[in-house]
């Protein structure tokens, strides 16, 4: 796998091959979208953000010095940088309500015998989303990268463009606030 990614990166560096770029970034698009949604809280805007991030990535991927192993955090870093520019995204017109995407996801789900369960899950998601949205954006990004993407502190630091210590503090502070906010739900 690593050899394949090295080959693709070399092919991209040679003539900015679209197929090579596609092969390199495709595995990370889903995670980029997830992170972008966490930052923007709007599926449509998040996709716009990711598209812009991909365009940037295409333009600068040749400059990536660390090799394909660092590609994932490098892509996250672009998304975080773009997502932390609130003016850029808040000025955009929203064509869907913030929870439209979630409604679609719920409706896509197969009908279950127990109608309560999806409701409870949705309630939980909503409360978690509210608690997350109350955090500063850097903490949101940090806890998402740690919990959802599984990055360690160094990976979070690389993606956030900060020191490891700062990343550690961002993650721990975000988690502390979330635990306090959702204490009732987290009780066994």
């Amino acid at each position: 796998m690593e050899d394949e990614r090295q080959r693709l990166l070399a092919a991209f560096r040679a003539d900015r091959n679209h197929d090579a770029f596609h092969g390199l970034v495709r595995p990370h698009v889903g995670a980029m979208r997830s992170l972008a949604r966490r930052l923007t809280r709007d599926a449509e805007i998040a996709d716009d953000l990711v598209q812009e991030a991909l365009i940037r990535a295409f333009r600068h991927l040749g400059d990536l010095e660390q090799g394909p192993g660092a590609l994932r955090t490098w892509l996250f870093r672009i998304v975080v940088r773009l997502g932390l520019e609130p003016d850029r995204w808040s000025r955009r017109e929203r064509f869907a309500s913030p929870d439209a995407h979630e409604r679609v996801a719920d409706l896509r789900a197969e009908p279950r015998d127990d109608p309560v369960r999806p409701v409870l899950e949705r309630e939980l998601r909503e409360r978690l989303a509210v608690a997350l949205s109350a955090l500063p954006q850097r903490q949101q990004a940090a806890i998402h990268l740690r919990a959802a993407e599984g990055l360690d502190y160094r990976g979070v630091a690389d993606a956030m463009g900060c020191s490891v210590g700062a990343a550690r503090m961002l993650v721990l502070e975000a988690r502390r606030r979330l635990l306090d906010a959702m204490q009732e739900d987290l009780e066994p």
Partner: protein
């Protein structure tokens, strides 16, 4: 919040893998290296591990943090649209990159991407590649650009024409049924069936007609569908057959065609992912549809209110009507809601109730269901559906046997609904008439009713609406009590001006359903038996006179015998009106009379109830001026009845009651 100072480092170490340097290299290289500062002292990794194993507080916090991380991860997964959406987005980005490579200059790039996180790449190779493509390729691109410009002009012309067509006031405009956006936008106003093509099918669009669920209309609707599907959607004129078909079908033109249901259908069936909104938006722009109209269509406030995507509703809806996914969008649109077929409304409300019931088991959450329920109740259009409404609402509010074991949760859920309504009532009747109507129809609690009285105080129009609702609702619990409260509120604020009889007509039997009569009688009986307030009892007695409910006769009889003078007179007046309510029935006071009954009152009652001999006997004691008043009015006015009783007393000095 955890009070243990170790909690943070425990989470960092055991959850985030925060390995200290002491774990990786020999101790002693640097005394402080790899140590963590906890509560003012440096601790090693081993000590943190030891503490985590011993401290219950840290263990609980660690469990909660693990659960939290799992939720965040699950939330990130659930918000994704899957591989299809990722591919679509990546393809879109690649197309943008290709366009940029073809059309944009390096200078433009420098302006647009000046905030790039990394230094801009000097792409000399791309320029060389452009030269290598040769002159032929450049000319082909030039031709392609001009072709695109020409196509854009043509589409713009088509768009203007479409907009002009839509502005035709007689409703005979024709919209291309092949365009899903056009179908969606004009769904609410379109008189005919809406045809929604399947997205991404590659072939002819699958036509799905939103139609009424009424059986009688279904066959006609299907006929119309066949006519519609055999013609080209862009035909310039309606055919006569189609026009007849449209006229003959009661289309539920108010179905709200929001993005959600269409998106769902297209997403499920074609795997188009959640790009449906944006894709349709872009497609519509290209075909000349007004950007403003599109934006208005997808940002309607009632779409935001429809935030209860019920899986159950979907299943129920699909079982009732083809294409009834739009039901999801009905919550915030009362006008649309009123025009939806009856069966769908029942399913919709049942789904709302189900959702609200489910919420009762949740400690916190949004009030979307309550809001939707309030709106649904307030705008329930068909009186024939009220029994159904009553059943589901009673079901919603009832404490089920399985929930009795957990009364705390159940009471909390019911309290949440009350609280939601109470908060809305505090806005005032003019600002939230829906809440006022909902409370008036539901009868959740005396406390909420008291809030209702406060919220409409001084608002005569709202008062009239509430009274109308209370008289119209089917066996609304506590309706008569609420009417008495409203009456009292007017009384104590000096707003009656001697209109007590007019207010008492709120309880007039005529126009009330049988179930409501019984419910009113129960409420009045409760007041008469339990109230320690003489004025309240008097209002209830006067109300009983207009309710004319035979079940109250025994109770009223007791008041005549043993109550104070004013109450005894009012009770006698109520008895007289009750007995008179059916002129065909012979007056029989035998069961009511007792030795304690004052004969003077009995005579007045008999006369007011229509007994001919009693009227003659009473007339003989009247002067000519008194006669008309006593004979004609004693059954209508308590004042006249009192006068009649006083006349009857003239020769009944043995009466134990002094009038």
């Amino acid at each position: 919040m955890s009070a243990c100072p170790f909690t943070e480092v425990v989470l960092a170490r055991l959850l985030d893998g925060d390995l200290l340097d002491t774990d990786l290299r020999a101790v002693g290289d640097s005394p402080a290296a790899g140590m963590r500062l906890v509560d003012g002292r440096l601790v090693s990794g081993e000590e943190i591990d030891r503490h985590a194993a011993e401290c219950p507080e840290c263990a609980a916090r660690l469990r909660a943090a693990r659960r939290l991380d799992a939720w965040i991860a699950a939330g990130a997964e659930s918000t994704g649209s899957g591989a299809v959406g990722d591919d679509a987005l990546l393809a879109s980005a690649m197309a943008a990159i290709a366009r940029e490579q073809d059309g944009a200059s390096d200078a433009e790039h420098a302006d647009v991407w000046s905030s790039s996180p990394t230094p801009r790449h000097d792409d000399g190779g791309r320029s060389r590649s452009g030269w290598e493509r040769g002159v032929v390729a450049s000319r082909l691109r030039l031709v392609a650009r001009w072709a695109l410009v020409a196509a854009a002009v043509l589409l713009a012309v088509a768009g203007v024409r479409s907009v002009l067509d839509q502005s035709v006031p007689d409703g005979r405009r024709r919209v291309s049924s092949d365009d899903p956006v056009v179908s969606g936008i004009h769904g609410e106003r379109d008189d005919g069936p809406r045809v929604v093509p399947e997205q991404g099918s590659g072939g002819p669009a699958r036509e799905e007609v939103r139609r009424s669920t009424r059986d009688g209309d279904l066959a006609r609707a299907e006929g119309a569908i066949e006519n519609e599907s055999t013609e080209t959607g862009s035909a310039p004129e309606d055919t006569a057959a189609e026009a007849r078909a449209r006229e003959s079908v009661d289309w539920t033109g108010a179905w709200v065609v929001f993005d959600v249901p269409d998106e769902v259908e297209s997403g499920v069936e074609s795997g188009a992912g959640h790009h449906g909104v944006r894709s349709r938006f872009r497609g519509a722009s290209a075909s000349g549809i007004s950007l403003r109209r599109l934006t208005a269509a997808v940002t309607r406030p009632d779409l935001a209110a429809a935030s209860f995507p019920l899986v159950r509703l979907r299943a129920m809806s699909l079982g009732l009507a083809t294409g009834s996914m739009e039901g999801v969008g009905l919550a915030g649109s009362p006008s649309a809601y009123e025009r939806v077929a009856e069966r769908m409304r029942v399913a919709f409300l049942a789904a709302l109730v189900e959702r609200a019931r489910a919420e009762r088991t949740v400690r916190q959450g949004s009030s979307a269901s309550e809001d939707a329920l309030v709106q649904a109740i307030a705008h329930w259009p068909d009186p024939r559906s009220l029994p159904e409404l009553g059943r589901v609402v009673v079901g919603l509010l009832a404490v089920e046997p399985t929930e009795r074991a957990n009364g705390r949760e159940a009471s909390r859920g019911a309290a949440r609904i009350e609280r939601a309504l109470e908060l809305r009532l505090m806005r005032g009747a003019d600002r939230d008439p829906d809440a006022v109507l909902a409370v008036a129809r539901l009868g959740l609690s005396r406390r909420l009713d008291a809030r209702l009285v406060e919220s409409i105080r001084g608002d005569d129009r709202a008062l009239d609406e509430v009274v109308s609702e209370l008289r119209g609702a089917t066996a609304r619990p506590g309706a008569a009590r609420l009417l008495l409260d409203l009456w009292r509120d007017l009384d104590v604020r000096g707003r009656l001006d001697g209109e007590a009889v007019e207010i008492a007509r709120w309880f007039e039997r005529d126009g009330l359903a049988a179930a409501s009569c019984a419910s009113f009688a129960d409420d009045l009986a409760d007041v008469l038996r339990g109230s320690r307030n003489a004025e309240e009892r008097e209002r209830a007695l006067l109300a009983s006179a207009f309710l004319r409910e035979p079940r109250l006769l025994t109770l009223l009889d007791g008041f005549v015998v043993g109550a104070a003078r004013q109450e005894a007179l009012l009770a006698a007046f109520a008895i007289a009106r009750t007995l008179r309510s059916d002129p065909g029935t012979e007056v029989d006071l035998g069961g009511l009379s007792s030795p304690a009954w004052p004969r003077g009152i009995e005579l007045a009652v008999r006369a007011a109830a229509g007994d001919a001999s009693a009227r003659r006997a009473l007339t003989m004691r009247c002067s000519s001026e008194e006669e008309a008043f006593v004979v004609d009015e004693s059954s209508r006015s308590p004042t006249a009845f009192r006068y009649a009783a006083a006349i009857a007393r003239r020769s009944e000095r043995s009466s134990p009651v002094v009038f």
